[in-house]
Amino acid sequence: MTISNKTKAFLGSSIVPLLLVIVWQYVASSGYVASFILPSPNQIIKTFVTNFVEKEYALHIAASLKRVLIGFLIGTVSGFSFGLLMGLSRTAEKIFGPFFNVIRQVPIIGFIPLIIMWFGVTELPRIIIITVAAFYPVTLNTFAGIRNVPKEYFELSSVYGYKGLKLIRRIVIPAALPSITTGITLALGMSWAMLMAAELFIQTYFGIGTRIQLGRDKFNMALVIVGIITVGALGFFMTTIVEQLAKALDRGKIIRKET
């Protein structure tokens, strides 16, 4: 019997999670660890099922997804625009670059008290946090992508009369695209990471983070773990979509020779 490479890869990638579950189940059922500290996989599955049959859990997921999507989209669009501006204009880079580079050194979580003071405990500060998280990687990678466009492309463009918007749309952006999509993929990961921070630090009724918080307050680690798995699965799913989109966009793969 022959096994396809895809099946092999899938089997290979299942080894670690499977082992983890087996060890986990063993430790949990051995009685050495209290079940409220480490619930068994069995319990997790039960909690998972009870959660998902509740209509409310869907609302929690929806609230988190909406937050991530809005923040990610605003952050990506603004990051792309800002990166484009700094990439194209040395003057803009001189004006904004140093400030941007200083401020991005501060972990976004550090700004949370300030953001709450200014905007209150509302939906806005949560979205702001996610937006900022998405903004940085998109800005940086768009900027770098544009600065790495080979100078020959610009020379060719000027030989053939491409300038202004046409130059940006037809040459600069396609040439920088692989770097831009890398930035967007990173931004998505950052958005999910910061979603948790936003929901845990800025209390809200709906959200997966809220469920995790609830689990902590109730000493119900099963609830916490179900929340973690939900976030992981959703994040993985969205990242896969974005990666596939990026692949589809990036026709002709870039293999650039270093001179």
């Binding site: 060719l156 009369g161 002709g252």
Partner: protein, 278 residues
């Protein structure tokens, strides 16, 4: 008739802050790339520039192409001073500079798009050129799916698509292996001999220069100027076999004779050229 006339073209480059060079014992933060370049190029001729590294051959090419402006002096193209890229010129780079997001066919169409040539006409021209280079089966391939030699063929085809009066080629075959290089030289000369395009071709290879050129212009070590122009008295049309005839060797010897002293001088220069002061 001269299509290109360069008169006393000089080009200085300012070095980055803190960098200095010694020119004849004088420390300076400027570098003279071209020091009075005079050259007349006839319409339809194949002129090859050879010279030591750093002698400003590529700088001259950029000035002719309007990509760079001279510090002083002037280059005329069809009696008009060059101050911007012209529709009459085409460019081929050492690193091909094909657009990786476009297919071979679409890369060749690139220059025609901005000239307002309609799609069917563009495709027709691009297909003709692909077939001329024996690449008809590869029109849908992306650059990464082509070998180096094929990529450079596409890049040359792209430059020829707009039917330039002057084709500027900056060490186009330098990145290729020796065999591919000879094959491309043969193809280039075969295709060029069927056109009336003027070519200015920069190379470090004397064999390449002799094989391709009507005239070889030997450039001095930095600051570059024309040292000597050597007429290559080999018959046309030229075929690959000509490389092994004795007339070829005689021409080769002549070019090397003019070039040798300059290469030595350039190497002496290197010893005290890039000085990084604190």
């Amino acid at each position: 008739m001269d299509i290109i006339v360069a008169k006393d073209v000089r080009k200085k480059f300012k070095l980055k802050h803190g960098q200095q060079v010694k020119n004849n014992g004088i420390v300076s933060n400027e570098i003279d790339a071209l020091g009075g370049f005079d050259l007349n190029i006839k319409k339809g001729e194949f002129l090859v520039l050879v010279g030591p590294s750093g002698s400003g051959k590529s700088v001259f090419l950029d000035i002719v192409g309007g990509l760079s402006t001279p510090t002083s002096g002037v280059v005329y193209l069809d009696d008009k001073p060059v101050d911007a890229p012209s529709e009459k010129t085409g460019y081929v780079f050492q690193q091909y500079a094909l657009f990786p997001w476009r297919t071979a066919l679409s890369n060749i169409e690139f220059g025609l798009e901005s000239r307002g040539v309609v799609k069917e006409e563009r495709v027709k021209i691009a297909r003709e050129l692909l077939s001329l280079f024996g690449l008809s089966d590869f029109e849908d391939r992306y650059p990464y799916q082509l070998s180096g030699g094929m990529q450079q063929r596409v890049a040359i085809a792209r430059a020829l698509a707009t039917k330039p009066e002057v084709l500027l080629m900056d060490e186009p075959f330098a990145a290729l292996d020796a065999q591919t290089r000879e094959i491309l030289q043969n193809e280039l000369i075969r295709i060029w001999e069927g056109t009336d395009t003027t070519v200015i071709f920069v190379t470090h290879s004397i064999d390449e220069a002799v094989f391709l050129a009507d005239r070889v212009a030997v450039v001095t070590a930095r600051p570059g100027k024309i040292k000597e122009i050597i007429e290559i008295d080999l018959p046309r049309p030229r075929h690959g076999d000509i490389r092994s005839c004795s007339a070829f060797a005689a021409n080769r010897h002549k070019v090397w004779g003019a070039l040798k002293a300059e290469v030595n001088k350039a190497q002496q220069d290197w010893k005290h050229a890039p000085v990084n002061s604190k």
